[in-house]
Symmetry: D4
């Protein structure tokens, strides 16, 4: 059908989760911290479920930027953490780029805090280096809505593909006709708490219908 010709190939994909740190979270104003963490956790769980590599890193986690949010490694135990030596741009760090290259994969799904810096800098560099680059705008955060809109434009200008967490979810699993369908359904409840309530209502409605049979 040509279906998916314009979409990513999960077997060629790595998740790069960049600088999701407690201190930096306080500066985020384009999304609530609760949603930002929940979307990031969704990516971590998705990667684990679909066996996609995850690379994490942090910017000066012993300093004021604060510790990495622990949920990523909790829900993606296979994630590899790469320490940096002060570089703001992860792509400036040799170990980080090496770790990315070592996966042999060419599609990078990036998210982080700030979108305009920790995501945009390596995204633009990686695109120039020949990678297929996705930026997950709502698993990232920035200092204002204006910063979000501005960075969206810069990323697209540089050839990056802008997405949101729910689109990544769908673009990775692509069909409900697979064994992980139930777990995937739960992940949609993460990106949309209303969907979780839909699922609860659905279960109850069926239970009532069955009991009244």
């Amino acid at each position: 059908t040509g279906g998916g010709a314009a979409l990513l190939d999960p077997s060629d994909t790595v998740f790069l989760l960049l600088d999701h740190q407690a201190g930096l979270f306080q500066t985020v104003k384009d999304i609530t911290v609760a949603e930002l963490r929940s979307n990031t956790v969704t990516l971590a769980k998705l990667a684990t479920l679909m066996k996609i590599p995850v690379i994490t890193t942090a910017s000066e986690p012993n300093g004021t930027n604060g510790p990495l949010m622990p949920e990523i490694h909790e829900f993606a135990p296979h994630a590899v953490y790469v320490a940096r030596k002060g570089e703001v741009n992860a792509w400036d760090n040799e170990d980080f780029v090496k770790t990315v290259r070592a996966t042999g994969r060419k599609t990078l799904i990036m998210a982080g805090v700030w979108t305009s810096v920790c995501v945009a800098f390596p995204a633009l560099d990686a695109k120039l280096a020949g990678y297929n680059v996705y930026a997950v705008m709502d698993a990232s955060g920035d200092v204002s809505e204006m910063a979000n809109r501005t960075t969206l434009a810069r990323l697209v200008q540089g050839g990056g593909v802008p997405v949101t967490t729910n689109a990544v979810l769908s673009e990775v699993h692509r069909t409900w006709n697979r064994p992980e369908a139930r777990e995937i359904g739960e992940l949609y409840g993460h990106v949309s708490p209303n969907y979780a309530a839909v699922v609860e209502s659905y279960g109850k409605a069926q239970e009532v219908a069955r009991q009244s049979n």
Copy 2:
């Protein structure tokens, strides 16, 4: 005059209404459900009025995503429903793509829930396959305003033409100088409830003027 050289040709056009389902509606946050449904109904009625083919589909309608909104087939009785087998991306489904191809038309006007997934995936694939692709942003819905803005950028990046329902209406009928003018006027009242009130005021003002003559 060269008028319309940059616009769509209704005789080459198909409407694809994708996954407008009751469960998914609960997750929509970039437009109210009332407006989303009203805009979608407008497209269905317009297609019927102007004799444009409509193809619908749904993602797992027996599951938590919920049933298709019934108004589409009610107001576009000629619409063809294509069942999918779990594929998130309608363009992954052979029957769907076949049904599109069978129309022999090359301009696809797409709307659906979520914009970032159910619209964007087939839109990007169809564009790559040579179709002229329109995405109706306000007959579609997504989990956040950020998702709407992000998807708008991705669609444009892929060559899709972003529109809203009122523009589709105008781009299809193109002139008031046609027998369906009154019905079209009513459709504008759907996309703008204020316009419906304008029409009511106009009628009353004329009635008063005639009576006082």
Copy 3:
């Protein structure tokens, strides 16, 4: 139980729907015209269903204020229309006050455009005259959100009870344990389009459950 001691008594209640006119609707900025009309229709249908008297009136309907929205009398055929003679405040009009008095009821549920004028003026006068007065803030409309907030304060200062349409609905029917339960459910779908989708999903979920039994 003392339940309802602080609530209204439907058998003592009249609905006063004031100046819901097409021209005035254009000036409303604190609610969309679609929601305003939908909420007003809900009150009309509720009155019919629960056999509560309705009195309507309009301010200069032959002039620029425009015609009364026709849905009220369509859905509440028992509603009584009282013509005014130019008075802005319906309570200044003898026929109107007489019609209210003739009902013998002492609880007035008022809605109209503008909240600050067409609702507030008769509401404050009626309260002073000994009536129990409710103002339905979202079946009314005003020129700004600031006007809405300001009027809310003035109404409360004068002893009026501020409510929204969904609360009126519940305060009138009070229990699901009555023959009109299904129709009432539909009315909730008017004040909340998301609730209508919940009902659709529920029906489908039960249908699927029954079929799979």
Copy 4:
């Protein structure tokens, strides 16, 4: 009918327009400067039309607070300007209070910049001194929406009646059945630019109807 028992009596009313100054306008964030000036002009014109006294004053108009907006005295040539001697609260100024008392009227409709200071201070003092006090929230301005809401509460706490310009308009003219009806209609076009467009549409619709007769 008891109509108007709870409303103001125009023959007992004075308008106090306080510190509508160009420098202070820059600090206003709860309403646009265009709307603030337009509403203030509306009050000035209304006073002239209905022959209601107007008293203006300014806070240090030779200093950074800036000059009084000239439209007030332009459209209400009968307005009396009272100079102050540095007092922030106009009620602290002997001349001002004397000028108010000299009118012999007991209902004061106040507006000014800032609502929380230039309106609230004299409003609370005047109320304590036995006056009937109205505060026109949208012919006044303040440094934030929070300041507007906070001041609304303080004014009501002190017994002031909170209103918006459109309500003052209606509360003063009370009926369309008067010679000034056309001029009053124009004033509604000031408080609601959409109403002005309604009037234009109405005139045109009638003209078309008459011509086609």
Copy 5:
């Protein structure tokens, strides 16, 4: 010191959690579903921690209103569920009022969906019946921000005390100088995800300081 003379007495307090149901959640527009649930869970955990009785109830949970959110009874296992017989107003239900009375406590902290109905009706009735009534506005939900503001005014008019979840938390524990301090700290992280990040940063900063000693 007179400290707390104006505040609630936890030993006289009961939590009433009313109609937090999955179907109704879809209609809530004045707060996100995620925040609403998180705040409600906070109350449940607080009640358990501080040994305060909890009474829950649901409106037609087998119907479209949907099942009660399971977290309440999960985190407050001592909560007592009272089934209703169709009454919208819990105070209309004899069992419910009896269960409240049986606690012997006179301060009722209420939350639920909708604020304007499921909270306001029993709140106003209970106040009239002599109870001290608190309404937790952000552990409740309603169909619009306007409904929230309108109901706030109605509740205050009836003598109810309006609060938010963070205030309930503080008003119940009153001092950090108690054994449950750590658990309480965690609850603040529920009502403010930013506070949870503050706690993470604090721990890391101290760990770094200690290691560098």
Copy 6:
């Protein structure tokens, strides 16, 4: 200096003001009607001041779309009105395109209601026909902010240059060092009422300084 190489040439420019009609104004939701009219008037005055041709047109002005706003021809008496025969897209109308061509100018500054239709259709067609096309987003209006954002993207995709009224003002006059400086200053007061207040304050400050000399 190369200054202006990327900017428009006023001597090659025509203003096309499309369908600024009273009925359509009621449907505009991305800008207030007051601002939309004020910006349009600014363009009309600017064209007159700088001797730039203006072409106006209207869509079915005898019908519900309503009459053209009279200020355009009032303030740009040299403007040429072209009647259409029912075409929605002005570029479909032979007379209109002829009138544009007859000016011999190749830069078209367009504004109108709706942006997505009355501006976008001729803009895209004219661009394809070799014109340099500007779209003035805030002298135009559309049914929602989403429609504005969507149309902005479509216009840019088609090669149109998106601008706002203040930018047109500056791009046309280019220097304050010209005889019309005072009139231009007044036009800035139209696009920014705060600027008008700045001018008032400035004048007063200088007057005070001179008097105290």
Copy 7:
């Protein structure tokens, strides 16, 4: 004149600045941290300028709530800090209440984080104890706009006077006719950065006028 009869008496006034702490600031969502700090600094400077006592306190400043913002004591060196022993409500702390009483003043102007807790609790207690209580809503902060509105209602219900920083400024100095006029002008520039720019423009305009003389 009776001027000020309804206003506070600065010689009877104390400022209570409660829990303005770096950790708590991260949880504030009803005002930006920059504005909150700037308004608080304004109060500190005002107190110093007008010789009004200031009492500060903090809630567990060695813990996660974080250190007191240093600017208060920097700009109000006469401020007295009272340590608490874990009490959330400052009025529960004996030393705090003693320090307040020792001033012999009966008007308390309170601000702090959170408004709903650190301000509302002592405000309600102090009011009950006979004090005249002001709450400065924008020198305080809370977890949501809803919390701000809810607390405003609760404070007014308990007899507290709600104000904003600019009103406190004006209510304290009352006249420009005093030696501190220039310093006071600067404080207005703190509560309104636009006012600071007005002052800059004013000075420049006068300088230009004088030079051109």
Copy 8:
């Protein structure tokens, strides 16, 4: 690593700060004046810290546009001011372009008021002239959010790189592993007041940890 291949080179960079004037500030509506000034100061301090040239200019500073904000030259004493002769577009001014050329640098980071004029005009001209052009959207200001979004699109269309102040900060210093790390940390506190509070909390937490050792 290829790190920074897509980023700017500070040694090739000049900052152009255009028309940050007190009068123009009053017209800015897409960002607060406080944030606009703070971001501009950040750029000035960054330039000084990293020894990057700064060129400033003003549009008719003796007229109503008002004086240049003094902080720029205060914090970037090395900045060169270029007077203009009435040109709106700085690139129209020979001295300005000469001064830019004289730096020998090819990357221009521009900010100013208005974004759509004072930034966009020279940005588009400079890009055409072969420069690498950055526009700092939040150290600039415009008359509306719509103007900001419109200009963002125009700048990108012309090849300009859109950024925000925090991204410029990061793109210039690139690593924390440098002597200026502490000063840079302070600059982040300027663009994010929440970050400044993070730093305060961090310091206190470490101090407490060390004291308790």
